[in-house]
Amino acid sequence: MFNLSSVSIHMKMEEQDDKGHREAVCPGKKGALDLDAARARLAETKGPEFWRSLEELAGSPEWQEMMHREFPKGASEWLDSVSRRGFLKLMGASLAMAGMTACTKQPLEPIVPYVRQPEELVPGRPMFYATAFTLGGYASPLLVESHMYRPTKVEGNDKHPASLGGTDIFAQASILEMYDPDRSQTIASLGEVRTWGNFVEALRGPLSAQKAVQGAGIRILTRTISSPTLADQMRGLLKVYPQAKWHVYEPVNRDSVLEGAKLAFGQPVETQYKLENADVIVSLDADFLSAGFPGNVRYIRDFAKRRDPDSGKMSRVYVVESTTSATGAKADHRLPMRAGEIDQVAGLLNRFVEQGHPSDVFSSQGEKFAAAVANDLSAHRGSSVVIAGDHQPPGVHATVHAINQALGNVGKTVFYTDPVDANPINQTESIKDLVADMRAGKVDMLVIMDGNPAYDAPADLGFADALKNTNIPLRVHLGLYQDETAELCQWHINEAHYLEAWGDARACDGTVSIVQPLIAPLYSGKSAHELVATLAGQPDPSSHEVVQNYWKKQHSGADFDMFWRKSLNDGWIEGTTFAPKQVSLKTASFPAPAVPPPGSIEINFRRDPSIYDGRFSNNGWLQELPKPMSKMTWDNPVLIGPAMAERLGLKSEDMIEIELNGKKVTAPVWVQAGHPDNSITVFLGYGRRRAGRVGTGAGFDFYPLRDSADPWFIAGVTLSKTGETYKLATTQGYQTMDTPVGTRPLVRTASLDGYHKEPAFAREDEPPKDLTLYQPYPYEKEPYAWGMAIDLNACVGCNNCIVACQSENNIAVVGKEQCVIGRHMHWIRVDAYYQGDRDNPKAYFQPVPCMQCENAPCEVVCPVGATVHSSEGLNDMVYNRCVGTRYCSNNCPYKVRRFNFLLFQDWETPQLKMMRNPDVTVRSRGVMEKCTYCVQRISEHRIDSEREDRKIADGELQTACQQSCPANAIVFGNINDPESRVSKLKRNPRNYSLLADLNTRPRTTYLAEIRNPSEELES
């Protein structure tokens, strides 16, 4: 605070021009501290806008630098993360001046609570509203918890077929994005704060000019859009300006899926899978269980259902993949292979499915694999499914369509519908044309809606360069952040977050959800609907009207209000689901593509498991979320297989230079067990220059290597060791259960046959209950005894539970430096273990929350009784009593306890205050914390049930991790009730407790993992 005021006083003094300063400095790195820029920017803005520009400053690199300087000398080298946190405080101070806290009011338009009646708000009672989160055009239907008109927690819409209550990490973390203090908070023109009025004013001239030429100079670039309303608006706009063009681009696009469909059926179709009907699942580089894959939430649910070994019909999964993925980890048989070679496997598969394999001599491992898979597939015609990965070339997709047709899976496990994408065009081509037009000077007015092409467009197009150097008279950017693209546009419109504005979008099955805002725009941002309407000349439109009017048109009839109300209430619009589509194969034979030379090294570009294409890089929850396979946080090292690493003499954390036809990127290496040889994988989305204080500077940018010709993989990179090393922050240093003195039975597994032969294989002889000097506590006499069972077979390591827990329990983000030393705060973690052949190991996931031991070792050693047992068997933490000896953590064999070594929580930033769950204490420095089985939810339900004079029903009470789990892997409930789901699971022979021999008697137990390998490949 002191720093802030002193600085601002200095800044008011003299005036100067600041053009071009913003590129100059880059936080974190040593850049010239530029007070002048700050002063000038302040001097230029006057009156009521003063604080606004202060904030804007605050967001800007100079400010961060300045704040750094305000620290005691060397603060940053004492502990960078500490000074970073300190910096956050100062940020908070500046925002406090903004009177941010005044911004929580309900939108004026009537929005409809989900279920709770009466509608008027009961303080302390959360309300739930149905809305939807959109990623890559696909909507995830949500219920959002709102406390006193503040959205605090995202849940899946359990009534919606595309969710069934599950969510993915991006939806879960979107709540933090909405409250992100780094979000763009003003409309700006050339870095100066402007009003919406100014913008509309500025549009008038150019638009009328375009009228004359039918908008020949207008180009609008959007991300993939599935919103019927927005699509309709765009088409309307194109009617007004017939010559205008609508371009679409996302770095993570589905072009090859589209082209594949065209190749196979001559028309773009959406492919959907019914995995619950599939006995055999074959994935050709398709990571269909990971967040970001359209429909993954539903797929995980169906997949998990069929992986239950007790159901009698457990499915079998074959995965051929070019990198390591959660899907590969769950496979019964996995074949690591360079992406470029998978095409051949597809071809072979296609041939063998039709003709079968001629002999039992195989020229290659791939062929053997293909033959076995083909046999299994042919044995399960109509009940099998083959899925191709989005980044596989169109040929593969076409081939896979052919195979599914040949197997008669279509209509049973595979369905075709109209594309969800409202404008299904080849996005790479689209942005190519756009850049061409820009260079040709055909563009007078470029509107970039909600995208960041300056950062993520194909390198060979040089979009950023085109944007900067071809002087397009009017460049408008609409976005949540003042990012790399905003920097190059004269006008930046701060976008309203989806939780702040009305809209609609289609889920993967085509069902339309209305996007309801839960809060008035924090920074009076504008939605795409409003921008397009404005371009179309509509005076001062509201997204609510726009959306509602569109649906009025669709839903003729007097009962519109009823219809609208119901749609809002349910979270989707009746009858908008796409009907399956009959399509016929044009040809069954496709040209085999060129095979990359065996020796050459292939590079794979993948969306990041945590921050997608970079759009979430300022989201602390996602940045700190360990990536499923490597458990890496805050960085995107180059993944490389063990054999190759050995060959090249590379170790994890070595820096290498990657060269791909002339272009170079330097990045650290991570040796990833199971990664195919002669191939490296890089995740996109890092190395942002203008992401915000969280994302800026984190990781390495690989977009410069990515060309429009080969957006997903290309052979021919050369690697050279630079000699430097780079510290990486992984949350799990050791990913094996093997030690020099034997393997530890942490994850217990068996084959399906083995399981049938010996069902109780997992039951390590637990010490008998009476093996104690003491009288055991009579939990069985209590009405409730809470327990949890985690089905390792179901868990696909999607990390949802982690983010859900973080959101529900106000868990702090600690930053990279702290993660490096091992101080991450997640209450539930997902351990990933590898076993066997390092080049193609078996991989297992194990979510580990607090075990809530009945004989809790942590409690006995606490000198102040800050962690004690509740009568219902919870291992309670009494934060107020904790003095922080950390003895409990030392004595916890599961190491699930987390300690606030520093003031990790942000106590100042008003937005974050608004985001917090009011039912959960915000922990302070020096206090131990850990999973509580969501005790706040238990209390809430206990109170309700007592008021209604009944017991808490089974399933009524869900922990946050359980609720968000798309796989239903986590089951929580009352183990005193023999009929509860958790009790049943605990009676399951697969049930075992971790480290049972310590006699801690954990309440959380695991169901051992069963794999279903095929004899043919086992032999």
């Binding site: 500490v82 050693v861 922080g884």
Partner: protein
């Protein structure tokens, strides 16, 4: 009182060189405090120690401002330098009481010339140790919650926790040691009172002497009390490190959960304690010319005690290794493997060298009686004992049950500043002690003289 005869008929090296009378003994020792001018060397030494103390206070101050995150501790290594240093200092603090109490009961009257500063050393070591439990907690300003006091929250400490046992054991030990040391001083304070020419000194020493006049009745009660105190302090001194070892033995961490800890912690404590006594005694007797009172005999005996306790410690290591294998427990077995082959293996090797291999040279009489050699070996032992605690605390914690939660520990500059700072504080206190108080018990020295014997 055979000692006296020996001191005259020197079969063994005497505990006090011949030719001394009550007067000479009194003068020699009290003059160090009363008349001897303070040397510049003293000022330099004290100055350095004082600066180190200030450094410690700075480090602790910053700790309070930022939190213990400035240290290297993390999950899974929740305890680092703080606890290592605590145990180390407490261990060192064992020598004093052991010498004063146990050797008194064993009638080892050679102790008379070293018990006084050994006790002082104990006090300062214990206070150095006492700092760490207070500052290592996450919220130091609440550390007093470990004491059972009635409060408005209506909550009490949890008496099953070894940390509470620590609180009682350490505070009791500090109190008893202080009493022991102070009552031991009373007669000498009276001497100083009567000998000092400076009025201020006369008053201060007079106050502290509480009017001691050496009455026969007083001496009788005094000696009874002294013996009783020794009798109480003996089990106490053994209990303190036992309790400290419970901090670990009660935990379930492999490498902690073992029954050998109490005995070998106590032995280790005496081991390091005597090492520290020697490190102090050797330079002091040289500088203040006290070779007559702290004779080769004392050095010899201390060396023998070190040799013995060192072997007990070695036995502890052997048993640990043996049980690691014999128990058949996969976690214990790995912990042993990890000590020998893990990332901290060099610390373990150094530990074995310092605590077991090198001290064996003490079998050689020549070295036992060579002050310089003893000084160096004592230093080695102190390093070794510190490493032992490091191995026990850090190396056990950094790889326990779940491989997924293994981690590494890297001390920060703040850890080092605090540790070295406490050494400075300890030395500063020692410097003050030798300057203002008789570092050798004068009245007990008198009893060692031949003429102190009542001839019938």
């Amino acid at each position: 009182m055979d000692e006296r005869n020996e001191s005259t008929t020197g079969s063994r090296a005497p505990v006090i060189e011949p030719g001394h009378t009550f007067a000479t003994v009194t003068d020699k020792i009290s003059s160090i405090v009363l008349t001897r001018p303070t040397s510049s060397g003293w000022f330099v030494g004290f100055g350095i120690a004082f600066l180190l103390t200030m450094m410690m206070l700075y480090a602790i101050g910053f700790l309070f401002v930022r939190g213990i995150g400035i240290w290297g501790v993390t999950i899974p290594i929740g305890w680092g330098f703080a606890i290592v240093n605590f145990v180390w200092w407490i261990g060192i603090g064992h020598a004093g009481t052991l010498i004063s109490a146990i050797l008194l009961l064993l009638r080892q009257s050679w102790r008379n010339s070293i018990n006084r500063f050994a006790e002082a050393m104990t006090l300062f070591a214990v206070s150095a140790a006492g700092i760490f439990p207070l500052i290592h907690v996450g919220r130091p300003w609440l550390a007093y919650w470990l004491f059972p006091y009635p409060n408005s929250m209506g909550v009490w400490p949890q008496f099953r926790s070894p940390l509470i046992w620590d609180v009682f054991a350490v505070s009791t030990y500090a109190t008893i040691s202080l009493l022991f040391w102070f009552v031991g001083l009373i007669p000498d304070l009276a001497t100083l009172r009567d000998r000092s020419t400076n009025r201020a000194a006369k008053i201060i020493y007079g106050m502290l002497a509480m009017g001691w006049r050496g009455s026969a009745r007083h001496w009788d009660r005094y000696e009874t009390m002294y013996l009783l105190l020794a009798g109480l302090a003996t089990p106490l001194v053994l209990s303190v490190h036992t309790v400290v070892s419970f901090d670990f033995a009660v935990g379930i961490v492999p490498g902690w959960h073992t029954t050998i800890f109490p005995p070998y912690f106590v032995a280790g404590a005496i081991y390091s304690g005597f090492a520290m006594v020697l490190m102090l005694a050797i330079p002091i007797r040289k500088i203040y010319g006290l070779e007559d009172f702290i004779t080769e005999r004392h050095l010899q005996n201390s060396a023998k005690v070190m040799l013995a306790t060192g072997l007990i410690v070695a036995y502890g290591y052997v048993i640990e290794a043996f049980m690691g294998w014999y128990s058949g427990n996969r976690y214990d077995a790995f912990t042993m493997w990890n000590r020998l082959h893990g990332p901290y293996k060099w610390d373990y090797v150094a530990l074995l060298l310092c605590n077991i291999v090198i001290p064996q040279v003490l079998w050689i009489k020549k070295l036992r009686s060579n002050p310089l050699a003893l000084f160096l070996i004592s230093g080695v032992v102190l390093v070794g004992m510190w490493l032992e605690r490091f191995i026990i605390v850090v190396v056990s914690l950094h790889r326990d049950f779940l491989t997924s939660s293994w981690g590494m520990y890297y001390p920060t500059r703040w850890d080092w500043m605090t540790f070295i700072g406490t050494i400075g504080m300890f030395l500063a206190a020692m410097f003050l002690f030798v300057r203002v108080l008789p570092m050798i018990s004068i009245f007990e020295m008198r009893t060692l003289l031949p003429e102190a014997e009542v001839k019938e």
